[in-house]
Symmetry: C2
Amino acid sequence: MTRPGGANRVAPLDRAELHGSLGDPVLTSIAFLNEIMSRFPDAISFAPGAPHLRFLRDLDVHRHVDRYVDHLCAERGLPPGQARRLLYEYGPSRGLITDLVSEALRDQGIDVPPEAVVITVGAQEAMVLTLRALCRSADEALAVVTPCFVGILGAARLLDIDVVGVGESGHGLDLEQLAAACRAARAGGRRIRAVYVAPDYANPSGTRLDLPTRLRLLDLAEQEDLFLLEDSAYWFTALPEAEIPMLKALDTAARVIHIGTFAKLCLPGARVGFAVADQFVRTKDGRYRRLADDLADLKTMLTVNTSPICQAIVGGMLLEHGGSMARLGREKAALYRRNLANLLSALEKQVPRDGEVSWNHPEGGFFVRMRLPIPADTALLELSASKYRVLWTPMSPFHLDAAGANELRLSCSYLDPEQIEEGVGRLAEFLRNIAT
Amino acid sequence: MTRPGGANRVAPLDRAELHGSLGDPVLTSIAFLNEIMSRFPDAISFAPGAPHLRFLRDLDVHRHVDRYVDHLCAERGLPPGQARRLLYEYGPSRGLITDLVSEALRDQGIDVPPEAVVITVGAQEAMVLTLRALCRSADEALAVVTPCFVGILGAARLLDIDVVGVGESGHGLDLEQLAAACRAARAGGRRIRAVYVAPDYANPSGTRLDLPTRLRLLDLAEQEDLFLLEDSAYWFTALPEAEIPMLKALDTAARVIHIGTFAKLCLPGARVGFAVADQFVRTKDGRYRRLADDLADLKTMLTVNTSPICQAIVGGMLLEHGGSMARLGREKAALYRRNLANLLSALEKQVPRDGEVSWNHPEGGFFVRMRLPIPADTALLELSASKYRVLWTPMSPFHLDAAGANELRLSCSYLDPEQIEEGVGRLAEFLRNIAT
């Protein structure tokens, strides 16, 4: 034996050069935010888009698992031990709770069978699976509405899929720019295959698409042969009387793949999301099956299946609310709307409207978008944190180009009213001083 | 409004042709096995490589979560409520229990800091992340020892990475063929970037690499500038006195990326695995960081993080066994060795050794590899199921070429001794009849 076991010396790979650091601007930005938050623990942070801790404080995941096990017993006629074991074994790659999700989606006008649903490890895996299924050659690009949720950019990057940015307009999405991007792609021998859009209070812009824009987007998708990836993370924060049908509910031509998450409705730590993909796909032997079947097959190659225990937590929470996502989200939605109203009214009171600083007024979601007269970069964030003890997220990592350099994102989901009030006070002082 | 909401008619996409059914031979084979198992519920199945139900029957995941929460409180000085909330929120992409895993790996002679560990959604995600980090151009291929665990083939397929098969030899891996494959790749302007190998009782062959072969493989990796992806799923089933150091424990040149799973040691339903990647990687700005950092960054784009609740289940189980994977696996290993011994002795007693039918004699793992005089295909499996009520797995989906057509895999992990005895009796009758 020429080598001693046990010792594990590590040599830098200066010869076998690995494909170095990813150098992702988003990850760099998140790392910087985390670092700055740890340096200024007394700062009030409008940065994290995380659920309010109040909803996690009294969460009893054991109870929810038990509730789901009871349901399994009743539904499938299983003895309790056997139902519980189903959570501990490998499970079907499409998931255990597809029936509950399919049922729950009816509230939102989405009428699909359980077979059209795939349960995923958060919305993130749903995005990866969908992009992998749709974009298969280097010529097939993804369009995104910018500023854009960084998760979809990461998913595209992971799969080496080109991304084309399309700006927002007064109606939330510049349809003419999207049509022009499709034409430009074709002229270059390429193709826009799908468009990522978060119609309800998008992260990070807070933008919502009105109904006419949704309908025109669906028409354009049909015309240009596009798929729409609808991310619905924040829909539940809308006032019931102000709800606008989801793209998927308006989708008569199977153009929409709907992506959902239980991170905000239930808890992030379960890592449960889903994709709705009822499109029919022609197989090599000329038969048809659902796109969801392709996603489930791809999932066997990615994570095998979503933890059935985590699915049971979410399933139990759904069942406790009569199987309705809207009911599950009602109390949370009220708190988030209150926070948002507090943030907007505090800004109104404390930040002078002098044309230099402006912000939008979303009616739901977690985020407000603010424009400054100067770049909202990391240097400015450092100043904001160190001198004014208030944090926010620079908007530029959410853009594909230099746009948004002067913008920042304010999130209020995580905070209490007093923190919002105090935080806006600090922000106002900071803004007064940078303006001069 | 020109479209009614709510109705969701689905049109086949015969025009916008989607990239049809994946037509994966492995998935087709699994689907066929599932289908045949449901048609013959009274058949004894040597097909599933799943953990024995006995270990899931009395599992109390709540207790394990509570145990881990206690540990978090003690370790980090957190009040219980706060520790529990850590499980419900988003968590670090590299995972919460990297310290426990790093500590546990010392038993196996693997001495790496927690920063070299990334907790993943099962071993499957660890494979995807590792392949994505290592193989970045179409010229960089993966070599696998065949027959081969289908998960790595799926991961490579998902990422469009070319796979080159290398056969087994008397020592478990044909090193000369591997060296020749490296030379052939270079001659063709390509490169074998990494080799997937399961040194301890591989799935599906049951093969184990002896120590000299492990050392020669490490030398070859150094010589040919290869990384070794070591899959350690079945190591714990080895008799303690018969343990051979893992590749990672012998790895003095940071050639090995070690991939582990808690599916067999704890439970499949937690979907927790890990990658050990202590290699140093040069970043674009000339600094070094660990490959594990790259994997954690890639993970933010794939699943964000592994459910902290699931990590807590595994963490609690580890803690209950003094933080040792070996102790955690001891009772299970004894049962699996007993099953394997029963299977081998029943075969010895009941199946005539006439040179037509043969099988190997692994000392650990879940699997025995058997050779028949005729193709072990789906038609033969159908016959075996319908007439003899015994099931097994055809080996051909585990191969990249036509090799293995006459082979099948027998798994005994899931069965009880009486089922094994009875199942081998049925198998013997089946084999007698196909031989004539």
